[in-house]
């Protein structure tokens, strides 16, 4: 058991590398046919490993599992009399395992869609996917901020490549915008990191945890404080929070749908939200971080929702919806309590699932209709019932309607806000969810409800892996909602709540 717990984390690094090697050793003819399957295998093993490790870790009561590759991290520790400061190691804890499971789910959905939509250069596609996966895993398992930054860059570069992999005009434009905004984020993060390093001499989590930032002190302390602002802003850009969100819709709209799933479903969360999770964990005494997250959060929800109401392109509406939902996650983080963190994490999961569902539906629609302008659609619920049903389930989950998973995550976030004293914020978050329901209802009405448009009379339901993806994701939403009370029981049993 102990061995299993300590062994599984290596899989997170080993499996992607192995598949990478196999992918590049096999000839192009094979990888072009089966490349995406490799991605699916990666996703499934990822998810399985993460889930198993999560359960084992939760049951065993340990808080984290440390491991290292090619070097023995315990050396430094013994020379430091048992202190973990400045030792280099990887670790997985419950939060990171949960996020890795989410990566697995989204990756799987993305690959199901890619099976239909990515028709050539699948080998290269798989390479880029693996790099992305490695980058995300890396971000999750490192224990110091600079390594976090390095893997953040790897994620970023893989994303640029994936967005523009087919070298279309739109793809290149979207990737470029993302690149430019990402550079701005990089500047800010490096700026912040350097000032922190200046005052602290170490960027490991352990040492930063014991650091207290006193902005009223000397100039150095004030600069560290401002460094925190820069770090927050940098990660917020990566997360797609307003007013830094503008790259997100353009990138999503121009990328291939399977990439949109990845971007919206997991990349912005790992790259942006996880960074903010780390920040709030390390500098929990700095009230300004939570305050700015709350402000950004509310602003993001409003801006995302208002913009989504007036869009005409299916994927663009979904992209703005992602922006809006990031706001909820930020609100959950801003509460500063464990409940808030759990709410935010569960919302990451819910959002991953329902956003993937919606983008899968977009892929299905594009496959059959070859257009994604909602004004041209109408009454597709009659001819594409499964797509319509999964879309409705996703919509209800977004709006926070029981018994779907979105309801629970929103509830936890609002409860956390209420409990931490920000009652007005909690109430506002609830009321603003009316807008969430509004723009999605508008989408549903224009695309699926009503009388079928003449043009689409002969359209059939989409088949193959896209359909499989829709079904699986819908099942996840429903099960995630119905089974969540069990999860709550588990969490309270292990003392996390």
């Amino acid at each position: 058991m102990e061995m299993l717990i300590n062994a599984i984390p290596y899989l997170f690094i080993a499996v992607p590398i192995v598949i990478l090697i196999i992918n590049n050793l096999l000839p192009a003819s094979v990888t072009d046919k089966y490349g995406v399957r490799g991605g699916m295998i990666l996703a499934v093993t990822n998810f399985a490993a993460a889930a198993v490790e999560f359960i084992l870790l939760a049951v065993s009561g340990k808080s984290e599992v440390r491991f290292s590759i090619f070097w023995d991290y315990t050396e430094k520790i013994s020379s430091n009399n048992g202190a973990y400061i400045n030792a280099a190691y990887f670790r997985v804890n419950l939060i990171t395992l949960f996020l890795m499971a989410c990566i697995g789910i989204v990756m799987f959905a993305s690959n199901l869609v890619a099976e239909e939509t990515v028709t050539k250069k699948r080998g290269s596609y798989l390479n880029a996917i693996i790099t992305l996966t490695l980058g995300m895993h890396g971000m999750l398992i490192v224990t110091d901020l600079f390594s976090l930054y390095v893997f953040l860059e790897i994620v970023g570069i893989s994303s640029f490549v994936l967005i523009s992999i087919f070298k279309t005009q739109k793809g290149l434009e979207g990737a470029f915008k993302y690149l430019a905004m990402s550079s701005f984020a990089t500047i800010l993060i490096l700026f912040g990191l350097s000032f922190l390093f200046m005052t602290n001499e170490s960027l490991t989590y352990e040492s930063l945890k014991s650091l207290t930032i006193k902005p009223n002190g000397n100039g150095g302390a004030f600069l560290s404080y401002i460094a925190l602002a820069a770090l927050t802003a940098g990660f917020a850009i990566k997360a797609g929070a307003a007013p830094f969100h503008s790259w997100l819709p353009d990138a999503h709209q121009s990328a291939d749908t399977s990439i949109s799933i990845l971007l919206s479903g997991i990349v912005i969360k790992i790259a942006g939200i996880y960074g903010l999770i780390v920040l709030t964990d390390l500098f929990s005494e700095v009230y300004a971080i939570r305050l700015s997250l709350a402000v950004i959060g509310v602003f993001t929800i409003m801006v995302g929702a208002l913009l989504a109401m007036r869009q005409k392109h299916f994927k663009r509406i979904c992209a703005y919806s992602s922006v809006s939902q990031m706001g909820y996650i930020l609100l959950g983080l801003s509460a500063g309590s464990k409940l808030g963190l759990i709410g935010a994490l569960y919302h990451i999961f819910s959002h991953a699932v329902f956003k993937s569902t919606l983008f899968t539906n977009a892929a299905a629609l594009h496959e059959r209709l070859h257009t994604l302008e909602i004004d041209e659609m109408g009454g597709l619920g009659n001819v594409m019932p499964t797509t319509s049903f999964s879309s409705i389930v996703a919509f209800l989950s977004t709006a926070g309607i029981p018994p779907f998973s979105g309801f629970w995550s929103k509830l936890l976030i609002v409860l956390a806000l209420w409990g931490s004293g920000a009652k007005v914020l909690g109430g506002a978050a609830l009321i603003i969810s009316i807008f969430t329901a509004a723009y999605f209802l508008r989408l549903q009405k224009k695309v699926f409800f009503g009388v079928t448009n003449e043009k689409w009379r002969t359209v059939r339901e989409v088949g193959g892996s896209i359909l499989a993806g829709e079904v699986v994701l819908t099942a996840f939403t429903i099960i995630g909602g119905i089974a969540f009370p069990l999860v709550l029981l588990l969490l309270s049993g292990t003392g996390l709540m």
Binding site: K177, A230, W247, V303, L306
Partner: protein, 625 residues
């Protein structure tokens, strides 16, 4: 005979017997008469049997010492009937009247017609019996409301396409009944019991005052006093003529006056001069005066008589409202007299209508010689209602004048003027309808105007005889019937004590005759005998406004309801505007503005991000404190 009555009364006191024989049996009779509606003779005999049996039971209840029964019903209710002497007397009066009016109704309707009407009429009798005898105040309310239902039903007969009068009657009478309900609840609260016989001399304070006032309003409404009166003239035009004899003429009066008397003498402790007494007297005086004022100028016989019915109720209420023994006796005696001559007058109107097919006084004139018996009865009724010395109406009016004078001179003067106008209007009616040169309506030949058949004539003459009897031999009704029932020791029978009042009344009557003669000569014809009053400056405008219906409280109320509903519609539109136009407009507007801002230009994005960064730093700095 008394022994027979006593044993029957005891029989009725057995559990469920009263409700079976005095409530269920009349209802059953109604059903039978309805089933036999096509067979003229059969239905007449059946109805006669039921009416006579009812009369027998009522008489035995009165002479046999009353009924006292209580039986459980459906486990939760207690059906208790206790008759006091007074309610037994009213029961008896109702039964007598029912006999006559039902006989008249069946003669009025040809075979095949009037079946539903008779059904409702019999059920109404059952309701009246129940209400008069109930001891449980809630059960009394049930029967009280039952009368409202049959009233509504009758007014709908033949008017299903134009139910306005029925709805108006339902609304007005229903409102009065609502007050009644409220009053009953308050009375139960104040008395702590639902048994009427246990409520005696409740104090008129707080809950008691509310109960008293509300119940009085309910009773006044049932009796047809102002402001609950405005449906009666409408019914005069729309309802069948037998209805007028039966309901506004008798049943409603009996119930209303019964309850008012009960409240004043038994249930509540009301002293002469107290606020309640003054209130009721004022209602009575106003009803009296305004009712007869409207009656004076009517040119349709039925409408004229219906306004008189309203006015006569005013007399009764004024009398009882003074809370003096002389007033209460006078008011109750006036009720008994009134049901005699008012029903008689309506029967006369019905007889005329049967022969001339109209009751509009413009259309016929001077048919007295052709219908001598009817004319004779009319003269008797008319003299009684005008109050000629020696008639029953005179005696009851004098008692009321006495009570009114003792209370306040204004009431007395109003009553006198009322008497003047009553006499004047009956002189007009008699002069126009019966006396003078014969003129038949268009299409009716002179030879068709002959006396009506015995079926109508008998009740008419019987009532006339009773009128005379109650006048000549007034000890019996005043002392025995009323005085004993209300436990009033003083004897008011015989010639009135105060001769001054008698002289004044005679002077008023003489003035009315003089006015009639003057009017006939001056305006040309008996019909126009009071036109000089009608078109007098000042009164002309008032009459015009009243005739147009602007003084109808029902109309004011419906106007207020319309205003209220218009206000609600206006508010509704405002709220809809907010939800349909305002909120979506704002949201869409802001969304469009934001969309136009995000135009895809990278430099704009970067600048926005920079501004965001600065804002974030500002937040951080602001949070230092």
């Amino acid at each position: 005979m008394t022994g027979l009555f006593t044993s029957v009364a005891e029989f009725l006191s057995r559990p469920y017997m009263f409700i079976a024989f005095m409530i269920a049996v009349p209802a059953l009779g109604g059903v039978l008469v309805w089933l036999l509606r096509r067979f003229g003779a059969a239905r007449f005999i059946v109805s006669l049997i039921f009416a006579l049996s009812n009369l027998f039971f009522a008489a035995s209840v009165y002479y046999g010492g009353g009924v006292n029964t209580s039986a459980p019903f459906l486990r939760a209710l207690q059906l208790s009937f206790i008759t006091t002497e007074f309610s037994a007397m009213c029961l008896f009066a109702a039964a007598v009247l029912f006999l006559f009016v039902s006989a008249y109704s069946l003669s009025y309707y040809k075979s095949g017609q009037g079946g539903v009407y008779m059904l409702y009429y019999f059920i109404s009798l059952a309701m009246v019996n129940g209400a008069l005898a109930s001891d449980n105040i809630g059960m009394m309310l049930f029967f009280w409301e039952g009368l409202l239902c049959t009233l509504f039903g009758i007014l709908l007969i033949g008017n299903l396409n134009n139910p306005r009068t029925a709805i108006k009657a339902l609304a007005i009478s229903g409102t009065a009944d609502l007050f009644m309900m409220l009053g009953i609840v308050a009375t139960i609260q104040a008395a702590g019991t639902v048994s009427i016989s246990e409520m005696s001399s409740l104090p008129v304070t707080k809950m008691g005052a509310l109960g008293c006032v509300m119940m009085l309003l309910g009773a006044l409404g049932k009796a047809g006093a102002m402001p609950f009166h405005s449906w009666i003239p409408n019914a005069a035009s729309d309802a069948p003529t037998p209805f007028l004899a039966a309901f506004p003429g008798s049943f409603e009066k009996i119930l209303g006056i019964y309850l008012i008397t009960r409240i004043f003498t038994d249930m509540y402790d009301i002293t002469p001069g107290s606020a309640i007494s003054v209130f009721v007297s004022i209602v009575g005086a106003v009803t009296l005066f305004l009712g007869v004022g409207m009656a004076l100028v009517q040119k349709d016989m039925k409408r004229l008589l219906s306004y008189h019915a309203i006015s006569q109720v005013g007399y009764m209420i004024l009398g009882i409202g003074t809370a003096l023994p002389v007033g209460i006796v006078g008011g109750t005696y006036h009720m008994l007299n009134n049901i005699l001559y008012k029903s008689g007058l309506f029967i006369v109107a019905g007889a005329i209508e049967k022969r001339t097919k109209t009751t509009d006084l413009h259309n016929f004139h001077g048919i007295g010689r052709k219908m001598p018996a009817t004319t004779a009865c009319f003269i008797i009724f008319g003299l009684s209602i005008a109050g000629l010395p020696g008639t029953n109406g005179f005696f009851s009016k004098e008692l009321i004048f006495d009570a009114a004078l003792e209370t306040n001179i204004v009431f007395y003067i109003l009553a006198l003027v009322g008497a003047f106008m009553t006499a004047a209007s009956f002189l007009k009616l008699g002069g126009a309808a019966f006396f003078g040169r014969l003129r038949t309506p268009d299409g009716i030949d002179e030879n068709e105007i002959r006396e009506v058949n015995a079926g109508m004539l008998t009740p008419m003459c019987a009532l006339a005889v009773l009128c005379l009897a109650f006048g000549v031999y007034n000890t019996y009704p005043i002392d025995t019937l009323i005085g004993k029932s209300l436990k009033i020791e003083e004897s008011f029978s015989g010639w009135p004590h105060s001769s001054t009042l008698v002289i004044i009344s005679c002077a008023v009557l003489a003035a009315a005759v003089a006015n009639h003669i003057y009017g006939t000569r001056h305006n040309g014809g008996a019909l126009k005998a009071v036109d000089h009053i009608h078109y007098a400056p000042g009164l002309k405008q008032v009459y015009a406004v009243a005739e147009a219906g602007y003084l109808d409280p029902y109309r004011w109320f419906m106007g207020a309801v319309n205003v209220f509903s218009a206000a609600c519609t206006w508010i509704e539109r405002g709220v809809s505007w907010i939800y349909d136009k305002a909120v979506p407009g704002i949201v869409n507007g802001v969304g469009n503005a934001l969309r136009q801002y995000s135009n895809g230009s990278l430099s704009r994005y970067l600048i926005t991000a920079l501004v965001g960064l600065l804002a974030l730093i500002a937040i951080f700095i602001a949070a230092i404190r």
